[in-house]
């Protein structure tokens, strides 16, 4: 059978699996998540002491980004069934049928091996081991074990998204220090309020897919309480990063400003209930979600600028 006869019967939307465009395969890597990973890893690399050849640094960042993309592809392979049920994810390449689940698995495994091997050869094997652990944690611990079992899924799973600056630091120095661990702590504590703010206004989606998000298992009030708790915990983590070897005057200023803004937004979400939120179209929750993106970008941009402009504590 020629592809002419095949395509006569299949419309463009119903192209057989394996006939996705290059963009569909790229979408498997979750490019938006990759951009955040690249940004935080860049901050970890620039803040690290010592000189690293720019090309080796570029390759190391690329490997960390590809590793994150590989875990995204493995996540889409495993979660294709629930992605089909949620409005937010049903357009992804696997549930929409543009790419077969097996292809997503193959791409994820191949890119995982590639990124870990290349990082080991380009930088060091300690960093490569950490990257392998990060991929394993996201694809297996979070996606396969936690996501469908416990409302603490994103709390524990958030560690995978928090590790890239540590991987980059270790790639640059070959050792662990307090500063990158504080970067990990900041992202780890930031992940729950970020996702729960989103879950408050897209909650129907997770319920349809039987994903035990906190909003579904413990309700609106408990979620708001937890958001407030993590907003409080973020304050010392942010200040500790600003006062660490990776911080400086700009990070300190950003930490104070962003902590106040995030605290205000968290307070606004905590002090009201679902009925009030529905009344104004979840305005406070959406504001907290948008602000959380700005919060993370602001901290790591300040760390990068402190290193580049010489305003860091180390000069």
């Amino acid at each position: 059978m020629s592809d002419a006869s095949l395509t006569t019967r299949l419309g463009p939307a119903a192209a057989p699996a394996g006939e996705g465009s290059f963009g569909d395969y790229f979408a498997l890597l979750k490019p938006r998540v990759m951009s955040l990973v690249i940004f935080t890893a860049l901050a970890g690399m620039i803040a690290a002491p010592g000189a690293m050849h720019p090309f080796v640094g570029f390759v190391a960042l690329l490997c960390i980004a590809v590793g994150a993309g590989a875990s995204g592809a493995l996540n889409m392979w495993w979660d294709a069934d629930i992605d089909r049920l949620m409005r937010r994810t049903r357009g992804r390449p696997v549930p929409s049928g543009r790419i077969g689940a097996g292809e997503a698995l193959g791409l994820g495994v191949a890119l995982s091996l590639f990124s870990v091997m290349m990082l080991g050869l380009a930088a060091n094997w300690f960093a490569a081991g950490l990257l392998a652990f990060t991929i394993f944690f996201y694809a297996v611990v979070y996606t396969m074990w936690l996501k469908r079992r416990t409302p603490q899924n994103i709390v524990i799973g958030g560690l995978a998204g928090a590790l890239p600056p540590l991987v980059a630091w270790v790639a640059a120095t070959g050792s662990v220090a307090w500063a990158p661990l504080l970067m990990v702590a900041l992202i780890f504590l930031w992940t729950p309020p970020h996702f729960w703010a989103l879950a408050l206004f897209v909650r129907g989606d997770y319920g349809r897919a039987n994903v035990p998000m906190l909003t579904e298992t413990h309700g609106d009030r408990a979620t708001r309480n937890q958001i407030a708790l993590y907003a409080v915990l973020l304050a010392p983590a942010s200040l500790a990063l600003a006062l660490s070897a990776a911080g400086g005057w700009l990070t300190f200023g950003a930490s104070i400003l962003l902590t106040v803004l995030f605290g205000q937004a968290g307070w606004a979400v905590w002090r009201r209930d679902a009925a009030q939120a529905e009344g104004d179209g979840w305005a406070a929750e959406k504001r907290l979600f948008r602000l959380s993106l700005f919060y993370m970008a602001g901290h790591f941009a300040a760390v990068i600028l402190d290193s580049l402009l010489g305003t860091g504590w180390g000069g």
């Binding site: 592809d3 395509t7 192209a15 996705g20 465009s21 090309f55 290349m118």
Partner: protein
Amino acid sequence: MAIRVEHELHRRRRSRNWGLFAVLVAFVALVFGLTVVKVLSLDSIAQFQGYDHVIQPANLIPEPQAESAP
């Protein structure tokens, strides 16, 4: 008569083929660039030979002799 109308499927295939081509070219450039950087960062050729081959004593650069005082 040959069918000349291009289907959506062919556009996707072309995009995939060009994308794969770009990825492979980037991979070659990456490995080549990394090799150049790693070799140039070595202090002496003996280190390079010792990495994956047996060091050949004949190629070792002799240590400079300390000059005797007049």
